[in-house]
C-alpha cells in the first residue's frame, strides 16, 4: 500500500493542480510515492502490485448503489448544468470535414439556441489536424480545444511518431492533449516504458509558454481487469497526468460506472498521498442524462466535491449533450419535447 500522508476520504478542498509541477517535481513526487529513486521496472512493479486488489463484485455493487441515488428537482437542475459544463464535445471520425468541426464548435458555443442561461461545454475534442479549424471557429471563446494524439486510438507507433503527432497538435494551439498509453507495454509488464512515454508527451505539452493539459487514456476495455486499471491509473498519475481517462471510445467496453468509481478512488488516494489533485474523464458510451447524473453522484461521494469542477472531471461524449438539453427543457417547460427541439451538430 502507498504511504499515505493523510487518510483518503472524499475531499471538499482538493489539492495542487498537477500541471503546475515541473518535470523535476513530478519525478520527485513519483520517487517519493514508489519509495525508489530509480523507478526501475522492478521498483514500479513492486509498488503497483502492492496496491490493494479490487473485488469486482464489490465494486459493481458499490457502483450500483451510487447509481440508485434519486436526483430530483433543484439537484437535477444543478446536475444537468454541471454535466454540460463538463462535456468534452467530441468528434473523432476519419470523415471529419472542416464543416463538421465548425458545426461542432457552433453547437458548443450555443448549445441551446434562445437560452442564454444554458452553460457551454468545457471543450471540443478533435483529431490533431482539425485543431486549427476548431480554434478559428471558436474565435477566442472560453472553450478549450482538446486533441487526441500519440497515434490515437491504438497508439501502435514508434515513440518519435507519437511525439511528433503530439507536437503538431500543440503547435496548432491545442489546449489539451488526450494521449493513449502503450497498452501492449503495460500488459507485458514494461511499466517503465509506459511511464517514460507519458513523461515524454508531458514534456511536449509543457514546452509551450501556456502548457497544454495532458489527459492519459488507459483504454480500460483492453486492460480487462480492475487490478490493471488501478495500476495503470497510478502509473499515469506518477508520470504526471493531469487527467486519467477511461477510453478512446473505439474499444468496447468503453466507460462504465464501476471502472469510473475505481479511477475516482485512485485520484482520491493519490491526493492523500501527494497533495496533487488529478482529474478523471470517462469517455465513450455515456449517452443519457440519467447515466451522466449517476457519474456526478459517484464523483461527489467517492472523490469528493473538489472534483465537481470541469477542471477535474469531464465527460468524453458526442450524443450526451442533446439528451441533457432535452432533460433541461423538460425541467423548465414541464413537458418532454422531442429531438426536433435540439440541434444536430
Amino acid at each position: 500500500m502507498a504511504t499515505t500522508t493523510t487518510a483518503p476520504a472524499p475531499s471538499s478542498t482538493g489539492g495542487t493542480h498537477p500541471a503546475t509541477r515541473s518535470a523535476q517535481q513530478v519525478s520527485a513526487d513519483a520517487s517519493g510515492v514508489v519509495g525508489s529513486d530509480q523507478l526501475s521496472n522492478a521498483a514500479l512493479r513492486t509498488f503497483l502490485h502492492g496496491l490493494p486488489g479490487v473485488d469486482a463484485v464489490g465494486l459493481a455493487g458499490r457502483a450500483a448503489q451510487l447509481g440508485s441515488r434519486s436526483i430530483k428537482t433543484t439537484a437535477k437542475a444543478w446536475g444537468l448544468d454541471t454535466v454540460i459544463s463538463m462535456i468534452d464535445l467530441t468528434t473523432l471520425e476519419g470523415a471529419d470535414t472542416p464543416g463538421k468541426v465548425r458545426s461542432l464548435v457552433a453547437k458548443a458555443l450555443t448549445p441551446q439556441p434562445g437560452d442564454a442561461s444554458c452553460p457551454r461545454p468545457a471543450a471540443v475534442c478533435v483529431y490533431g489536424d482539425r485543431v486549427q479549424i476548431a480554434k478559428e471557429a471558436l474565435g477566442g471563446a472560453p472553450i478549450a480545444v482538446a486533441a487526441v494524439a500519440t497515434g490515437f486510438p491504438a497508439g501502435r507507433a514508434g515513440t518519435a511518431a507519437r511525439l511528433a503527432d503530439t507536437q503538431d497538435a500543440v503547435d496548432a494551439g491545442a489546449d489539451e492533449i488526450d494521449m493513449v498509453i502503450d497498452r501492449g507495454a503495460f500488459l507485458a509488464g514494461d511499466y517503465r516504458k509506459v511511464y517514460d512515454d507519458i513523461v515524454a508527451v508531458r514534456e511536449v505539452c509543457q514546452s509551450r509558454a501556456e502548457p497544454a493539459h495532458l489527459k492519459v487514456i488507459l483504454e480500460t476495455g483492453e486492460l480487462a481487469t480492475n487490478d490493471n486499471v488501478r495500476r495503470a491509473s497510478w502509473l499515469a498519475m506518477l508520470a504526471g497526468a493531469d487527467f486519467i481517462k477511461t477510453s478512446t471510445g473505439k474499444v468496447s467496453p468503453a466507460a462504465t460506472l464501476p471502472v469510473t468509481v475505481l479511477m475516482l478512488e485512485a485520484v482520491r488516494d493519490f491526493l492523500a498521498a501527494t497533495g496533487v489533485q488529478v482529474g478523471v474523464k470517462p469517455a465513450g458510451g455515456i449517452r443519457s442524462a440519467k447515466d451522466a447524473l449517476k457519474y456526478l453522484v459517484a464523483v461527489n461521494e467517492v472523490a469528493g466535491e473538489a472534483w465537481l469542477d470541469p477542471e477535474f472531471f469531464r465527460f468524453g461524449a458526442s450524443s450526451l449533450l442533446n439528451d441533457v438539453l432535452l432533460q433541461r427543457l423538460k425541467l423548465t417547460s414541464g413537458v418532454y419535447s422531442g429531438t426536433d427541439y435540439v440541434t444536430i451538430d
Binding site: 500500500m1 499515505t4 487518510a7 490493494p52 486488489g53 463484485v57 465494486l59 436526483i71
Partner: protein, 481 residues
C-alpha cells in the same frame, strides 16, 4: 452548504392504505382481539399509525384450532404441486404489490425505503418463489421417500425484518404441508397484516395461515399452546432460552434463530475499498439492527489505522434521516426501548475505556435516532465486544496472525455469522473452516439468498432456514410405505 445538495426525494406514503385499526387474521377472516388494543407508531416521527388488536389465550386457541382444521382437511392432503401454485401466486402478488409493502415496512419499522424496496421485499418474494419449487419435490429432498409435515407451526418473528422474517417462516412451512399461526413483533405488525390481505387475494384456503398480533404474552401463549407441533422463533437469545425451557419435555420441535456478534475479519491483503463497503454494509445496514450484523471488526494490526481512518471518511458520507427519502442510507431506530439499549451499551463502551467516534451528521428532532458510531481500542473483554448492541455501533479490534483472528472471532457465546476479507483464496477456505459460525461470507457481507441455509452455532440458536436445509425443520423423515 455543499455544491451538490440532493433535493428531497420522498417516496409517497399514499401508495398504501393504512386502516385506523386492525383485528386478528384467523381462519381467513379479520376478527376482533380479546385483549386491549395496542398502538403501532412510526419510529421516524413518533406518530401513531394504527391500533392493533392483541390476542389473548382464547384467541390463540381459536387460531390454532383453525390451523389444525385447515391442516387436516385441506392443506395436508393437498398434492404438493397444488400447494406450489398457491406459493407461486403469493410470490407473484408480493412482487406486484412490492411498492405498497416497501412503503408500509419503512413507515412501521423506520428502515430506509432504499432497503425495504431493494432488499426486504424482493428477497421476501424470492423466498416464496424458491420454496414454491420444493413443494412437489419433497420426496427427493433427502428426507426419506415420503416426508410428512409436523402439522401446526407456531411462529414468532422479530421487528428488524418484519416481512422478510415472515417469508422465511411461512414459505417453507406451507411448502411442506404445515399450517401456520404467526405472531409478528409488537412494534411492527403492519406488513404481516397487509400480507393477510394478500393471502385473501391469493385465495389461500382459510386457516392455512393465521396472523395474531400482540406482545410477549401472546407469543408465549402461542409457543405453550398444546396444539402447536412445531415452534419457530427468531429473536433475542434471552427469549430463545425461555422458549427452549417452555417446550422442554413436550413433543414440540423447535428452531431458534437468535442473537449474534459477528466478527468481520479484514486481512492486510484485502481489497480495501470493497472491504470498507462490506464493513459499512455489515453494521450500518438496517441501522445495525441485524442479528448477523458484522458488529466486531477484526482488522490486521498492520492496516488497522488506515482501515479505520478510511472507514470514518466513508461514514461521513452516509445520509442519516427521513427513511422515506430515497437517498437516505441510515434510518430510524425501531423503538424508544431499542434506542435506550444502544445508548446504554455505548455509554458502557466509553466507561470501559474504548475510544468513541460518532459521525457528526445532523439528526431529526423527533423520532428515534442514533448516529453511526465506531469504537476503537476495544478489547475482547469489553461489553461492546461481547454483547449484542443491535444498533449502528461498530467495535474495532486488531489481530496479528490468522490464529489470533480465529481465537478472537470464536471466543464468544454467539456464532451466527462471520466475514473474511482477503484476496488469497486458500486463506478464505482455511478461515471459513475455522469459524464457528453458521454463515461465513467471503469478501462480502449481509447477502441473503433463499437457496442458502442460514442459522447459528452455540447460543445463536439451532436449525437452519433457507435452502434445502430449511425444509428439514418442517418435516418428519419418511420411510417407504
Amino acid at each position: 452548504m455543499s455544491k451538490f445538495e440532493y433535493a428531497p426525494a420522498p417516496e409517497s406514503a399514499s401508495v398504501v392504505d393504512i386502516d385506523s385499526s386492525y383485528g386478528l387474521f384467523i381462519d381467513g377472516e379479520f376478527v376482533e382481539g380479546s385483549g386491549a388494543a395496542m398502538k403501532t407508531v412510526n419510529p421516524a416521527t413518533e406518530e401513531v399509525l394504527a391500533d392493533v388488536a392483541v390476542a389473548d389465550e382464547a384467541d390463540v386457541d381459536r387460531a390454532v384450532a383453525a390451523a389444525r382444521r385447515a391442516q387436516e382437511q385441506v392443506w395436508g392432503p393437498m398434492p404438493g404441486a397444488e400447494r406450489a401454485k398457491y406459493l407461486f401466486r403469493i410470490a407473484r402478488l408480493l412482487a406486484e404489490r412490492s411498492r405498497e409493502f416497501a412503503v408500509l415496512e419503512t413507515l412501521d419499522n423506520g428502515k430506509p425505503i432504499r432497503e425495504s424496496r431493494d432488499v426486504d421485499v424482493p428477497t421476501a418474494a424470492a423466498h416464496f418463489f424458491y420454496y414454491a419449487g420444493w413443494a412437489d419435490k419433497l420426496s427427493y429432498a433427502g428426507y426419506g421417500s415420503e416426508p410428512r409435515p409436523h402439522g401446526v407451526a407456531g411462529q414468532v418473528i422479530p421487528w428488524n425484518f418484519p416481512l422478510l422474517m415472515l417469508a422465511w417462516k411461512i414459505a417453507p412451512a406451507l411448502a411442506t404441508g404445515n399450517t401456520v399461526v404467526l405472531k409478528p413483533a409488537e412494534t411492527t405488525p403492519l406488513t404481516a397484516l397487509l400480507f393477510a390481505d394478500l393471502l385473501r387475494q391469493a385465495e389461500l384456503p382459510p386457516g392455512v395461515v393465521n396472523i395474531i398480533t400482540g406482545a410477549g404474552p401472546t407469543g408465549s401463549a402461542l409457543v405453550r399452546h398444546a396444539g402447536v407441533d412445531k415452534v419457530a422463533f427468531t429473536g433475542s437469545t434471552a427469549v430463545g432460552k425461555q422458549i427452549a425451557k417452555q417446550i422442554a419435555g413436550t413433543r414440540k420441535h423447535a428452531t431458534l434463530e437468535l442473537g449474534g456478534k459477528a466478527a468481520n475479519i479484514v486481512f492486510d491483503d484485502a481489497p480495501v475499498d470493497q472491504a470498507i463497503e462490506g464493513i459499512v454494509n455489515g453494521i450500518y445496514f438496517n441501522q445495525g439492527q441485524v442479528c448477523c450484523a458484522g458488529s466486531r471488526l477484526l482488522v490486521q494490526e498492520s492496516i488497522a489505522e488506515e482501515v479505520t481512518e478510511r472507514l470514518k471518511g466513508r461514514l461521513s458520507t452516509l445520509r442519516v434521516g427521513d427513511p422515506m427519502d430515497k437517498n437516505t442510507d441510515v434510518g430510524a431506530i425501531n423503538s424508544a426501548a431499542q434506542l435506550e439499549r444502544i445508548t446504554t451499551l455505548t455509554q458502557a463502551g466509553q466507561a470501559e475505556g474504548a475510544t468513541r467516534w460518532t459521525s457528526d451528521c445532523p439528526l431529526p428532532e423527533t423520532g428515534y435516532w442514533f448516529a453511526p458510531t465506531v469504537f476503537t481500542d476495544v478489547s475482547s473483554a469489553h461489553r461492546i465486544a461481547r454483547e449484542e448492541i443491535f444498533g449502528p455501533v461498530l467495535s474495532v479490534l486488531t489481530f496479528r496472525t490468522p490464529a489470533e483472528a480465529i481465537a478472537k472471532a470464536n471466543t464468544i457465546p454467539y456464532g451466527l455469522s462471520a466475514g473474511i476479507w482477503t484476496e488469497k483464496g486458500s486463506r478464505i477456505l482455511a478461515m471459513a473452516d475455522a469459524m464457528r459460525a453458521g454463515v461465513v461470507w467471503a469478501n462480502t457481507f449481509n447477502r441473503f439468498d433463499p437457496t442458502s441455509p442460514f442459522g447459528g452455532y452455540k447460543e445463536s440458536g439451532y436449525g437452519r432456514e433457507g435452502g434445502r436445509h430449511g425444509l428439514a425443520p418442517y418435516l418428519v423423515e419418511g420411510t417407504v410405505r
